[in-house]
């Protein structure tokens, strides 16, 4: 075991040495000496298929730098929120943990996280972080979540079928309908455009693309914009792809995003909104599709790029961290330089450091460049308030879309109900 790992460890240390040199202000960071201490860390499972090996390397580098041991525990996304809550209740939180972007404000509001803004300023990293992730990691003007990696949804389509039918990547809503009709006529066995009824994030690009808002803060009050004429226009177009044009299917009315991924991988879907992390999964599920699909930024109503929710993860320091300086050393090691870049390459996500992201932008990979463009030019964020977690738990937006798709409600009625519910939850005490 040890012998096999050794060369990798040497490489990792060398790599870290390089970034440490190039960092400039890092010179003083070697002061942290925590011989004999152990830093406990929770990381979500499944983001990086090879995370064990990755964290072996990180642990080596971390021990080299600080003398402390690294104890990484992998947590399933599905149980993660419950585990955080129970560990907060029991006072057994880790020192540092990966927190989904929508959780950071919630845990910060509860007083479970330690602010890290000063550390970031001291390192001079303030201007070099991806903006969307900073926004979702900030609560009450304090930074609690260190941007680690980001992902974004764009329009993914089957390039082989588009080529066969002589279609271009859609650049406006009319293009989507035209392409959908062509696919439907030539391939009636396929879904021209998947409209999942139990998914929230594929809805907002249409709201924003039509000029609407999900919710805006007005003083102390949050006001949902889902029932505005623009938002209704966008949602009517999106659901109309299924109800008017018949591009989707009856089953999709209750689909989650994972169902979209499964069906696209099986070759049943020609167009869908999917995340920048999905191309690898699609090829892994069905190798035949390799090279047969491409991505393009989500078009706005009359062209341009419609914003899409920027998702991802922060690294957060818990207020129970025994040695905040040590915890910050780890966060810095993970989110900047070599390891951040490596993580992005292995997981298919974009780094949260702006300068690293700029390098990625230069890629001409047809399954990287469009997502990068979407991320930089059209990255949106859901309302940054701890209450938004409750809106998601109640599935307010999903409910509206599903009710429209199943015919229970009209677009006007469903969006009005959803906006009222959002207002009630986000302004409740």
């Amino acid at each position: 075991m040890k012998r096999r790992l050794l060369p990798v460890a040497v490489l990792a240390t060398a790599a870290f040495g390089l970034t440490a040199c190039s960092g400039g202000s890092n010179a003083d960071s070697g002061d942290v000496s925590a011989e004999g201490e152990t830093l406990s860390v929770w990381i979500m499972e499944g983001t990086n298929p090879d995370s064990e090996a990755f964290f072996d390397d990180v642990a080596e580098a971390f021990t080299e730098e600080t003398g402390a041991e690294l104890d990484v525990e992998f947590v399933q996304w599905a149980d993660a929120h419950d585990r955080f809550v129970t560990s907060i209740a029991g006072g057994t939180t880790p020192d540092v943990a990966e927190t989904g972007t929508t959780w950071t404000a919630e845990f910060a509001d509860a007083g479970a996280l330690a602010p890290i803004g000063d550390f970031v300023e001291d390192e001079g990293l303030g201007g070099d972080l991806v903006e969307g992730l900073v926004a979702s990691g900030t609560y009450d003007d304090e930074l609690y979540g260190m941007p680690w990696y980001a992902g974004v949804r764009s329009l993914v389509y089957r390039s082989d079928i588009f080529e066969e039918l002589g279609l271009e990547a859609p650049a406006s809503w009319d293009d989507i309908v035209a392409a959908g009709e062509a696919v439907k006529a030539a391939h009636p066995e396929m879904m021209a455009f998947a409209v999942p009824g139990d998914a929230e994030f594929p809805v907002y690009p249409w709201v924003w693309g039509a000029g609407g808002e999900v919710a805006e803060q007005d003083g102390d009050e949050w006001v949902s914009g889902l029932d505005s004429a623009e938002s209704q226009d966008g949602i009517a177009f999106y659901t109309g792809l299924a109800t008017e044009h018949g591009f989707s299917s009856a089953g999709a009315t209750t689909w989650k995003e994972t169902d979209v991924l499964d069906n696209f991988s099986q070759g049943n879907v020609a167009m869908a909104l999917m995340g920048s992390w999905t191309p690898a999964a699609i090829v892994e599920k069905n190798a035949e599709l390799e090279g047969k699909f491409a991505a393009t930024p989500i078009p706005g109503k009359d062209g341009g790029i419609a914003p899409s929710v920027l998702g991802g993860s922060h690294l957060s320091m818990f207020s129970t961290a025994k040695n905040p300086d040590l915890a910050w050393e780890f966060i810095k090691l993970m989110t900047t330089g070599e390891f951040a870049e490596q993580w992005g390459e292995q997981s298919g996500y974009f780094p949260g450091q702006a300068s690293l992201l700029a390098e990625t932008m230069e890629s001409d990979d047809p399954l990287v460049a469009p997502f990068a463009t979407q991320l930089v030019e059209g990255g949106g964020t859901v309302p940054v308030t701890p209450k938004y977690g409750a809106v998601q738990a109640k599935k307010t937006t999903n409910t509206a879309i599903q009710a429209i798709l199943s015919g229970q409600k009209t677009v006007e009625q469903a969006t009005a109900d959803a906006a009222a519910e959002m207002n009630e939850i986000m302004n409740g005490d």
Partner: protein
Amino acid sequence: MTSTIQAPQVARGAESPRAAGGPVQRKNPLVRARPWLLLAPALAVLAVLLLWPLVRVFLFSLQDYGLREIVSGDANWIGLANYGEIFTDPTLWTVVLPNTVGFAVLAVAGTVALGTAVAVLMASLGPVWRTVVGSAIMIAWAMPAVTGTYVWVWIFDADRGIVNETLQAIGLQDEPVNWFTNRYTFYAIVLLNVIHHGFPFVAITILAGLLGVPKEMLEAAEVDGAGSWRRFWSIIVPNLRQVFAVVIILSTIWDFKVFAQVYLMPGGAGSNREALNLGVWSYVESFGQNRYGFGSAIAVLLTVVLLGITVVYVRTMLKEEEL
């Protein structure tokens, strides 16, 4: 009940057969306390494991208890506001309760009826076939609820499920129907799932009771000219009253708080509001939103309701029996 337990006599040579529960014993406090002393360890464990959590849940239900309170450890008393919010929520009365109660009634009736029928069938089988049928239904029982639910979801899948394909093939349906978007078809599928998963327990329990019914009574009734239907209702059912009481109470408790079988269905996790039941609704409203006080209030009410149902059952089913 415990007072009827007699302390066993300690053998004291030749005198032992004489003393048989005489008044001498009542004067000895140690002897009287002995049953309680023997029960004390078990009662202490129960108090720690069951009673204290129950008390805590009740105390939480009187607070606005969220993540912030968990972190700080402070109490945040709001009196009965959680209960007030529960009772004034229109969703509870129009959707949640009708779904929960209606489903529980149908599921308990279906589970007990099917389970009894299978038990009667098994009682009349020879050993070989009884083993075969017993093993088959044990497999349905042993299947985890999550796995079973996914199997039913696949069967009724709108685009590729076997039900839709069959209905379309025989011309009863022109295009695929999503069975999960309609409240009644949604619960019909849950009903199939829960009955399929729940009847083996009923069948095995009732079979055990059936085998204990004295053969002589059944033969005597047959000689008197009672048909099999009459024998079932007049001899077997009265003899198995306690068994039925246990089975119905347990099924009611299980079917009242069914969660995974609804939550895992398409749309069942809250996006189809017409399909909310008590389990999913309380999860979405409380734990999904970190409102643990509100969730505790729902848990207290559910406990009270189930206790009430149990008391009514026990009283009606066992009225003539000695309690």
